[in-house]
C-alpha cells in the first residue's frame, strides 16, 4: 500500500476538512448510506448492484456530485479506499463486528442490531477480528483504470465503482466484484478460513472444483475380483471333482462301447462314480419327469437336465466317447475352462474392421505431420521448401490412399453376407461410423498450395508435374463424386427435392470437370 503524497487523504475521527459544517453534512449522508447499506446487505445482497442498488447509488451520487472524488483511509486497517461509498462497503464487509470505538461503526452496529431484532436473524456466532490480508499484489489505482474482467473494460470510478479483487488483486467494476470467497492471509482461496472477502468473477469461477464436470464415481473392480477369486477357488475344487467324474463316465462309456452286446448294469456302474440321491429324497415337482444328474447325483427336473458330451480326456476333443445326462449347473462348471479357452472362428467383419483400425492408426500418425508441414509451407517459413513440398505431397498421397482403403473396407463390410440381424446391424453401423470418420478427417484435409515456380526447370518436368497434379485433382474429384452420389441418393430417399436439385447440378459440375481434366491428361501424355 503506497501513500502517494499528491493524493488528498482523509482519516476518520480526525478533522481534516476546514469546513466543519460540510463535514457534518457528509457525515449525515454517510449515515443514510450506512442505513441503506444495512438494508441492502440484509435483503438485496443477492442482486447485482445494477439491478437493485440503483436507488441508493443514485442518491449517493447526487449528494456528492460537487465533491471531489477522493481517497479515504480506513480507520481500522489503514487501507486506502476510493470514495465514501466504497469505504462504507469496506467497513460493512470487512469490519462487521469490530470493537473499535469509532462513532460510525458503533452507529452502524446499533442499526444492525435494530434490523436484526426486526427480522429476527440475530447473529449467533461472533466473527473474530478480520486479520491483515496480503495486498502486496494489488493493482495500483490510477485515474484511468478499466475493469479487468474480460470484455468488460468499463472505465472505473464513481459510476461503475472501483474495487481490487482481494484474490488476484486486479481492479474491477462493482458488477464483477460482487462475489465473496473465503481467503487465507496470503490471499489464496481457502475454504477453512473464517473470513470472507470480495473477489472478482474470474477468481470466483476459476477456483478449484467450481467448474467440475466429473460426477462422483466408485470403483468396485477390486472388491468384485476379490469376491470372484474366493468363489473361483471353491469352484475349482468342485470343477476338478466333476471333471474326474466326467472322465470316469467317459471311460465307462468307452468300455461299454467296446463290449457291445454284453449286458452290463450301466446304472450300477454309474452309481459307483457318484451316489445317486434316493428317488424319494426330493418331493418337488412330481409331475414332470425327473432324472439323476450323472455328475452330482441329484434329482433334476426334465427342464434343467441336458445331454452332455463325454471325453476321457476333457481337454482333448478326440477322446469323445458318447453322451450322458447332467444338470445345467454341473455342465457349466465341468466345461467352464473348455468354454473359456475355446478358440472361436474370427468373423470376417472383425478381420476387416481390424484393417480399418490399422489404416486409421496410420492416418492418425501422418495427419498431424502433414498439417505441420503445410503450416510451414503456407506461412512461408519453410527452410527447405522443395524437400518439404515433396514430403507434403508424399504424406498427402499416403493419407488419400488410406482414406480410400477405409472407404473400400467399410463398403466390403456393408456387403458381407450374414443371416444374423445382429451382425447386419453391426456391419451397417461400422460402415456408418467409417463415413463419419471420413467426413471428419478426409473432407477437412487441406489442399496443397500451388507449387512455387522457382523449382520448375524445364517443360518435361512441368509436364510430369502437371500430370501428377491432374491425377491428384482427379482423385479428389472422384472422391467428391462418390460422396455427392451418396448425398444425392440420401436426399432422393428422403424426398428432399430442393436438395436433390442442388446436388444434381453439383454432380453435373463435377462430372464436367472430371471430363475436362481427363481430356487434358490425354493431350499431355
Amino acid at each position: 500500500m503506497s501513500n502517494t503524497k499528491t493524493r488528498p487523504k482523509r482519516t476518520f475521527g480526525i478533522k481534516v476538512q476546514e469546513n466543519n459544517s460540510k463535514f457534518e453534512e457528509k457525515f449525515i449522508n454517510t449515515n443514510n448510506i450506512i442505513h441503506n447499506e444495512v438494508e441492502y446487505n440484509k435483503r438485496n445482497s443477492t442482486l447485482s448492484p445494477n439491478d437493485n442498488n440503483n436507488n441508493n447509488f443514485i442518491s449517493f451520487e447526487d449528494s456528492y456530485q460537487n465533491s471531489n472524488f477522493e481517497f479515504y483511509e480506513c480507520p481500522i486497517c489503514n487501507e486506502e479506499i476510493l470514495g465514501l461509498y466504497q469505504l462504507n462497503i469496506h467497513l460493512d464487509t470487512v469490519h462487521t463486528e469490530n470493537k473499535s470505538g469509532n462513532v460510525i461503526l458503533s452507529l452502524f452496529k446499533k442499526t444492525q442490531k435494530i434490523t436484526e431484532e426486526i427480522t429476527g436473524t440475530t447473529k449467533t456466532n461472533e466473527k473474530p477480528t478480520q486479520p491483515v490480508i496480503d495486498k502486496s499484489h494489488w493493482q495500483k489505482s490510477t485515474n484511468d483504470d478499466k475493469c479487468s474482467y474480460p470484455e468488460c473494460e468499463k472505465p472505473l470510478g464513481i459510476r461503475n465503482g472501483k474495487q481490487n479483487c482481494y484474490c488476484c488483486g486486479k481492479l474491477f467494476c462493482d458488477m464483477h466484484t460482487n462475489f465473496s470467497m473465503r481467503l487465507s492471509e496470503s490471499a489464496k482461496p481457502d475454504s477453512n478460513s473464517p473470513f470472507w472477502y470480495k473477489v472478482c468473477q474470474s477468481c470466483y469461477t476459476s477456483r478449484e472444483g467450481y467448474n467440475n464436470t466429473e460426477g462422483q464415481r466408485r470403483n468396485l473392480t477390486n472388491a468384485f475380483i476379490e469376491a470372484r477369486k474366493n468363489n473361483i477357488e471353491k469352484l475349482c475344487l468342485e470343477e476338478n471333482l466333476l471333471i474326474l467324474r466326467l472322465e470316469k463316465l467317459a471311460q465307462l462309456k468307452a468300455e461299454i462301447n467296446e463290449k457291445k452286446g454284453i449286458s452290463i448294469n450301466q446304472k450300477a456302474l454309474e452309481q459307483s462314480i457318484v451316489q445317486w440321491k434316493e428317488d424319494a429324497s426330493s418331493i418337488q415337482c412330481s409331475i414332470c419327469r425327473r432324472h439323476h444328474c450323472r455328475l452330482c447325483g441329484k434329482l433334476i427336473c426334465s427342464n434343467c437336465i441336458e445331454d452332455i458330451p463325454l471325453f476321457t480326456d476333457i481337454e482333448n476333443d478326440k477322446t469323445y466317447s458318447g453322451s450322458t445326462k447332467s444338470c445345467n449347473q454341473c455342465k457349466r462348471i465341468v466345461f467352464r475352462k473348455k468354454v473359456m479357452n475355446a478358440k472361436e472362428k474370427i468373423p470376417s467383419v472383425v478381420k476387416l474392421y481390424e484393417q480399418i483400425k490399422f489404416n486409421q492408426s496410420i492416418i492418425e500418425t501422418i495427419l498431424p505431420q502433414y498439417n505441420d508441414i503445410l503450416l510451414h509451407i503456407n506461412s512461408k517459413s519453410s527452410k527447405n521448401y522443395p524437400q518439404d513440398y515433396q514430403n507434403a505431397t508424399k504424406y498427402r498421397e499416403k493419407l488419400i490412399k488410406n482414406f480410400h482403403q477405409i472407404d473400400l473396407l467399410s463398403k466390403r463390410i456393408l456387403k458381407l453376407p450374414t443371416n444374423s440381424k445382429y451382425y447386419r446391424t453391426l456391419q451397417n453401423n461400422i460402415a456408418k461410423g467409417s463415413v463419419i470418420y471420413l467426413q471428419n478427417n478426409m473432407i477437412t484435409l487441406k489442399m496443397l498450395p500451388e507449387k512455387n515456380d522457382v523449382t520448375i526447370i524445364n517443360e518435361d518436368i512441368e509436364n510430369t508435374k502437371r500430370i501428377k497434379e491432374i491425377k491428384d485433382t482427379l482423385d479428389v474429384l472422384n472422391d467428391q463424386y462418390t460422396l455427392l452420389q451418396g448425398y444425392y441418393q440420401d436426399a432422393l430417399f428422403r424426398r428432399k427435392f430442393d436438395n436433390v436439385k442442388t446436388l444434381e447440378e453439383s454432380i453435373q459440375d463435377v462430372t464436367d470437370e472430371i471430363q475436362k481434366l481427363k481430356t487434358e491428361l490425354e493431350e499431355i501424355s
Binding site: D51, D509, E513
Partner: protein
C-alpha cells in the same frame, strides 16, 4: 453444476476407456438416460456399434465384441446381469451401475462370473434424467407418489425418489444442508432420509470443503398448484404444454401431411444451437428469430446453387453435411412453431391465458363474469374451461361466498361430463384448500404471489401473458436475500447464515419447464449463485391434472 455435462462425462468415461468394437447394454431406465444426452454419431465414433437391452434374451453370442453395461441396480436388472454372466454372450464385460450396489448384489454377480469375463465394475451415479443444463427429472410420472393418505409416501416411490435424489447429489458432488417446507409431511420425510443416507454413505459424500455448504431445498407441488395450470409462452415450456415433450422427443405425427422424417423430432439444447438460443424466449421473440433463421438458410442455399469454380465446388462438398443439418433443423423448427401457432389461434389461447394470468396474479371483480363468458364460448377447449374454474377455485374457493359450485354446473351445462368436473373436488382436496382458509396470513400458505416481481418491475417489460412468476423463483429470491424463514422452511439439521452459493431444488410431485425457465433466468441474472431444479417428473397441465386425480384417489 451443469448436469448435462456431468452426465455426458459419465458416458464418455464409460466408452472411452475401452478401445475396440463394443456393444452397449442398457436397461429400460438407463436407455432414457443415454438417449437424452448422447448422439448416435458420438457413440459410433467411439466404436459403440451395437446398442441393446439387457432385457432382450434372444441376443446372439458375439465373442469378439466387448460389452459395456450401464444398468440401474434394480433387482430385475441385477438378476438379468447375473444371467448374462452365467452364459456370457460377449468376450469381456465392463459393468457400470447408476446407483449404489449392495454388498450381496456384488457377491452374487461375482459368483455368477465363473468365466471371469468381467474386467471392471464401477458405480456412476447417473440415476436421473438430465433435461437442461440446470434441470433434471427422476422420470417417475407413472409412479403413485402417495401412500394411504396425502401425508404419506408410497413406499416404492419413496425408495426410488431417495435413490434418485441421492444420485443427483453424488453426480453434482454436493453434500448439502437440507431445508424443506414445514407443511409438507412428504418433504420432511424425504429430507430426513436424504440426511440419513448422506451420513450412512459418508465416504462417498466426502467432497472438498465448500466456502459455504450447498442448500438442498425440498419443495412440495401442493404449495404451488398454480404454475402447472397456466398456459406457457416460452418455447420449450410451450411445446410441452401444447404438444408434449417425452424424454427430449416431440411426437408430431398428429399433424396431417407431415414429412416422414419430422414425425418424431428431437429437441436438444446440446445438439441444436437454434433451440439452445431460443428455448427460454417467449413466443413473440421466437417468431422473429425463426424468420431470421429461415432467411439465413435461404441465403446459404442461394450461395450453394451458384457454384462456378472448382474451389466453390470443394467448399460446397465440405459444407454440405453442415448445410444438410441446417436444412433439417430449419424445417423442424418451422414445422413446430407453425403447429404451436395454429393451436394458439384455434383454441383462443391468448384470451384464455390473459384471464388465467389475471386470476393468478390480481384480485379482480370481473373475474367471475369473465370465467363464465369463456365457459359459454365454443372455440375454447374443455380443458381450458376446467383450468379456468380450477384457478378461480384456488383464488376464491376459500372465501365464504364463492361460486365454485355454480361454475361447476355451468361447465356441465356447456357439455362437459359430470365425471370430468370431479377434478374440481379432487383438486380442492389435493391443495388442502380447507386448511389454508385460516392460515392465509402466513407466507407459505398463500399460493399466489402478490404480483410483486423485482425483475419484471425493473425491466419494465410487463407482458400480460407472463405476469405470473412461479413460486419456486420467489422462494429462491427470498432464500438469497436471507428472508426465507426457518420456521416455515426448517433445516433438517443445523443451520447456516451465509448466503448460499449453490442451490439444488427438488420438487415433490413434479416440476415444470416454465419453472426451469425461471431458474435459468435467475442463474443468468445472478452470476454469484448457481441453482439447479428438478423433481419427480415434468408436468404440463394434462399430466398435472392426471397426477391430482391420482393423488385424490388415495
Amino acid at each position: 453444476m451443469d448436469i448435462v455435462k456431468i452426465s455426458q462425462t459419465y458416458v464418455q468415461k464409460m466408452i472411452n476407456n475401452t478401445p475396440g468394437m463394443k456393444v452397449l447394454l442398457l436397461d429400460d431406465f438407463t436407455t432414457l438416460y443415454i438417449s437424452a444426452i448422447a448422439t448416435q454419431s458420438n457413440l459410433l465414433s467411439k466404436e459403440v456399434f451395437l446398442i441393446d437391452k439387457i432385457e432382450n434374451t434372444s441376443r446372439e453370442r458375439m465373442k469378439h465384441l466387448k460389452c459395456i453395461c450401464f444398468l440401474r441396480p434394480s433387482a430385475k436388472s441385477v438378476q438379468l446381469m447375473i444371467d448374462e454372466l452365467r452364459n456370457p454372450n460377449y468376450g469381456s464385460y465392463y459393468l457400470y451401475f447408476s446407483n449404489i450396489l449392495s454388498k450381496s448384489q456384488i457377491e452374487r454377480m461375482a459368483e455368477a462370473d465363473q468365466q471371469e469375463t468381467v474386467r471392471e465394475l464401477q458405480e456412476f451415479y447417473g440415476d436421473f434424467c438430465a433435461v437442461n443444463s440446470n434441470f433434471y427429472s427422476l422420470n417417475l410420472q407413472s409412479y403413485q407418489i402417495y401412500g394411504d393418505s396425502l401425508n404419506t409416501w408410497n413406499n416404492d416411490t419413496f425408495k426410488r425418489t431417495v435413490e434418485g435424489l441421492r444420485a443427483v447429489l453424488l453426480a453434482l458432488k454436493k453434500r448439502p444442508m437440507i431445508r424443506y417446507e414445514k407443511n409438507s409431511a412428504l418433504g420432511k420425510r424425504l429430507a430426513s432420509e436424504i440426511n440419513y443416507q448422506i451420513q450412512q454413505e459418508s465416504q462417498l459424500f466426502d467432497f472438498r470443503r465448500y466456502d459455504t455448504p450447498p442448500i438442498l431445498l425440498i419443495l412440495d407441488r401442493k404449495n404451488d398448484p398454480v404454475t402447472p395450470l397456466l398456459n406457457q409462452w416460452t418455447y420449450q415450456a410451450m411445446v410441452h404444454e401444447l404438444i408434449g415433450i417425452n424424454n427430449g422427443r416431440v411426437d408430431l405425427s398428429r399433424i396431417s401431411d407431415i414429412k416422414p422424417d419430422l414425425k418424431e423430432i428431437v429437441l436438444s439444447a446440446d445438439q441444436d444451437i437454434f433451440f439452445k438460443n431460443n428455448m427460454y424466449l417467449n413466443f413473440g421473440d421466437l417468431g422473429v428469430n425463426i424468420k431470421n433463421y429461415v432467411n439465413e438458410f435461404q441465403n446459404r442455399h442461394h450461395n450453394s446453387v451458384n457454384i462456378e469454380s472448382i474451389n466453390d465446388m470443394k467448399k460446397f462438398v465440405e459444407e454440405y453435411p453442415e448445410f444438410k443439418k441446417l436444412s433439417g433443423n430449419v424445417s423442424k423448427h418451422v414445422t413446430l412453431v407453425s403447429e404451436l401457432s395454429r393451436l394458439v389461434s384455434k383454441d383462443s389461447l391468448l384470451e384464455v391465458s390473459e384471464l388465467e394470468q389475471n386470476l393468478a396474479c390480481v384480485n379482480n371483480s370481473n373475474d367471475l363474469k369473465e370465467v363464465q363468458n369463456l365457459i359459454k364460448r365454443g372455440n375454447i377447449t374443455d380443458e381450458s374451461k376446467i383450468k379456468l374454474v380450477l384457478l378461480y377455485t384456488i383464488r376464491y374457493g376459500s372465501q365464504n361466498r364463492n361460486e365454485v359450485n355454480a361454475l361447476k354446473n355451468l361447465l356441465i351445462q356447456n357439455g362437459i361430463s359430470e365425471d370430468r368436473t370431479k377434478i374440481i373436488d379432487q383438486f380442492i382436496r389435493y391443495v388442502e384448500l380447507d386448511q389454508r382458509q385460516n392460515e392465509e396470513t402466513t407466507a407459505i400458505n398463500t399460493i399466489f404471489d402478490k404480483g410483486k416481481n423485482v425483475f419484471k418491475g425493473l425491466k419494465g417489460v410487463e407482458n400480460v401473458y407472463t405476469q405470473h412468476t412461479s413460486k419456486v423463483a420467489d422462494t429462491i429470491q427470498s432464500l438469497l436475500k436471507g428472508k426465507l424463514r426457518d420456521q416455515l422452511y426448517p433445516y433438517i439439521e443445523g443451520s447456516i447464515r451465509d448466503r448460499p452459493q449453490d442451490i439444488i431444488i427438488f420438487m415433490i410431485g413434479g416440476a415444470t419447464y416454465g419453472e426451469a425457465r425461471d431458474i435459468a433466468q435467475l442463474n443468468e441474472e445472478i452470476p454469484n449463485v448457481r441453482i439447479i431444479l428438478g423433481g419427480t417428473s415434468i408436468h404440463n397441465t394434462q399430466s398435472f391434472l392426471d397426477f391430482v386425480k391420482n393423488a385424490a384417489s388415495v
